[in-house]
């Protein structure tokens, strides 16, 4: 018993000493005392050098935290326990957060660099007049395929996926909107279609795709495709860029029928304490040079028109990731379809997944 008490005492003392040391360290580095900007972003989604540069330039200290899904991020902000000054949700999450009053309006006077953003990426349906958000990165959904395993043919259409030669060769991303959207697009419907007859038709078409589907997976799809576990994958463009960088036999195409155009935007959540610092950070990231440096590091497509000049030609000129938006087929942003429609999409997707080969 005595040994046990002594043991506990030792652990407590050690914990308190460590707490004290971290506190002092934080103070010494300038954290705490309202001089910080807390940024809440996706994992591996910023060039760390830019954070250091921002700290040096402005004197604010950055606390950088990450999340791995919009839903987790929204839940944490809705709870309100932690302070986040800047967050980076995706389009549909933004309209939901506006609806649920989780965001603070932006002061555009404090964001002069907003003028560098490509106008077609502004004033989008999920946030009219960019009252709450400014674009950070954008991309598409498309097909990654292995040219060698696909017999040297080029893929151009969603309907190529239904080719009988691809039996058991396709990996799909585990997202109801992505998979249903792909089927709707392949039939020539909008991926925001709410006509139940069209959705049923899309589901029946998906059922016919099942023999070609090897698996429906999450983030591991990057690893699996790069390892040539399957010849074809339906993925987001950012993931595609990463996969291609790892295995150059792979290629990415945005099918001609159209696809999803998505955005990750910077917002100031209602949990923000340092509104001044949050605006400074957003404006810093909108600077063309910083945006270019970030895009080169992260590999996603920057919405910053002026930044393209600072990007190497082989990145900015890569039509797969910077498609000519006028001729790249019909790209659509996901609309918030409402809870009931989303539930219907998910129900159909679940039924599709339940199909046995």
């Amino acid at each position: 018993m005595k040994r046990l008490v002594q043991g506990f005492a030792a652990v407590f003392i050690a914990a308190f000493v460590l707490m004290f040391i971290t506190h002092r360290l934080n103070e010494a580095e300038g954290y705490g005392g309202g001089k910080t900007v807390t940024v809440y972003n996706w994992g591996d989604y910023i060039d760390p050098a830019l954070i250091r540069e921002f700290e040096k330039e402005t004197g604010w200290k950055v606390i950088y935290q990450t999340f791995d899904s919009n839903e987790a991020m929204m839940a944490k902000i809705a709870q309100g326990g932690a302070t986040f000054d800047v967050a980076v949700p995706s389009d549909y999450a933004i309209s939901k957060m506006i609806e649920e009053k989780l965001l603070l309006p932006l002061d555009h006077r404090k964001l002069p660099n907003l003028r560098y953003i490509e106008p077609r990426f502004l004033n989008l349906p999920f946030d009219p007049h960019n009252r709450y958000s400014v674009p950070y990165f954008w991309g598409t959904v498309g097909i990654v395929y292995n040219r060698e395993m696909f017999g040297g043919k080029r893929m151009t259409s969603w309907n190529d996926l239904w080719d009988p030669s691809l039996r058991n060769q396709i990996l799909l991303v585990d997202g109801a909107r992505e998979v249903m959207g792909m089927a709707l697009n392949s039939l020539g419907y909008s991926l925001n279609d709410t006509n139940k007859a069209h959705l049923q038709e899309a589901k029946r078409k998906l059922d016919r795709l099942m023999p070609n589907v090897k698996a429906i997976v999450g983030d591991e799809i990057k690893l699996l495709l790069a390892n040539e576990e399957a010849a074809v994958g339906v993925v987001w463009s950012g993931d595609a860029a990463e996969i291609i960088a790892e295995n150059d036999k792979l290629d990415y195409v945005v099918p001609k029928e159209g696809s999803n155009l998505w955005f990750d935007n910077m917002v100031i959540p209602k949990t923000a304490k340092n509104i001044e610092g949050a605006h400074a950070f957003i404006n810093f990231m909108l600077d063309p040079k910083h945006a270019a440096q970030n895009a080169e590091y992260v590999g996603y497509s920057t919405p910053n028109r002026a930044a393209l000049r600072y990007l190497p030609k082989d990145i900015a000129g890569d039509r797969r990731f910077y498609p000519d938006l006028d001729s790249a087929g019909h790209l659509e942003v996901y609309e918030n379809l409402g809870k009931h429609m989303l539930a219907y999409y998910n129900e159909l997707f679940l039924e599709f997944k339940m199909q046995q080969k």
């Binding site: 839903e71 997202g175 109801a176 698996a215 591991e220 690893l223 390892n227 998910n346 679940l350």
Partner: protein, 269 residues
């Protein structure tokens, strides 16, 4: 105060714990299961569970949980029996428990590499002349990885039961002329049945609501109720439906425990 009154005071921390973290969540879950998407009262969720798609899912969940339990038992019982007979018992037990110290997700990810088309398992099959085949994203790999993860939970209770079996009983049976097989069938197995039940419960119940392995190893080719709960809570945000499936699953588990009886009492005492 009497000894007895003191004892009641000791119950308070546990009582608070029980109310906050056991009773309250179940009450919330049941409450949530009667709400529809707009937060109105409804029994539609329960009607929905009885539609073919969820019934099918339930059947699959039970079938795979049964397979996992059966395979675990078939491997686990001989292992436990052998463990009681070895000399360095503690070492072998440690080796059995050791993988449990490694993060579950990490172990599952390791199987992605091992079972992949160009993984170690297929390389081995090719050297043996059997030829490469698809291992990942099959029923087989799902059951295999699940058994790998759950098998310590099967072996340990059986091992304990076997350890507590007085060797004199086995000797007596042999002295009285029973063959080794009869001894096992009539003496050893019945007396360790409690351990077997405890092990089966410890494997079957968590297997029913597996979700991560279904996506990572089975590539969503196996859909269990656990997957559906995760989807409803995180993706669809249809908490009512997710809660309903969870409630149904809890009732099913209670029925199973009730039917098989609480194995502990007979087993380890």
């Amino acid at each position: 105060m009497t000894e007895r009154a003191w004892r009641n005071w000791y119950l308070i921390p546990y009582g608070i714990w029980l109310v906050l973290f056991v009773v309250a969540p179940i009450v919330f879950l049941v409450y949530e299961s009667f709400l529809d998407l707009d937060g109105h009262w409804t029994v539609a969720n329960y009607e929905n569970v009885l539609t073919p798609i969820y019934l099918k899912m339930m059947a699959y969940s039970f079938w795979y949980a049964f397979l996992i339990t059966l395979v675990s038992l078939l491997i686990g019982y001989p292992t436990a029996y052998w463990l009681t007979k070895t000399r360095h018992k503690q070492l072998w037990l440690l080796l059995l428990i050791l993988p449990m110290w490694v993060n579950l997700l990490l172990k599952v990810y390791a199987f992605l590499g091992l079972l992949g088309t160009y993984g170690l398992a297929n390389a081995l099959l090719q050297t043996l002349g059997i030829g490469a085949r698809q291992l990942l994203f099959t029923d087989f790999s799902f059951v295999f990885v699940s058994v790998y993860i759950f098998i310590p939970f099967m072996v340990l209770p059986i091992f304990n039961a076997l350890e507590e079996l007085p060797p004199s009983l086995v000797d007596a049976a042999r002295d009285l002329g029973a063959s080794a097989w009869t001894t096992f069938r009539r003496v050893v197995f019945p007396l360790t049945l409690g351990g077997v039940k405890a092990g089966c419960q410890a494997v079957f119940i968590p297997s029913l609501s597996l979700f991560m392995i279904t996506r990572l190893v089975a590539g969503n080719r196996v859909i269990t109720l656990g997957t559906a709960i995760e989807q409803h809570f995180l993706v669809t945000q249809n908490w009512g439906m997710g809660a309903t499936i969870a409630v149904v699953l809890m009732i099913a588990m209670a029925v199973i425990v009730g039917l098989t009886g609480s194995g502990r009492k007979e087993g380890s005492r």
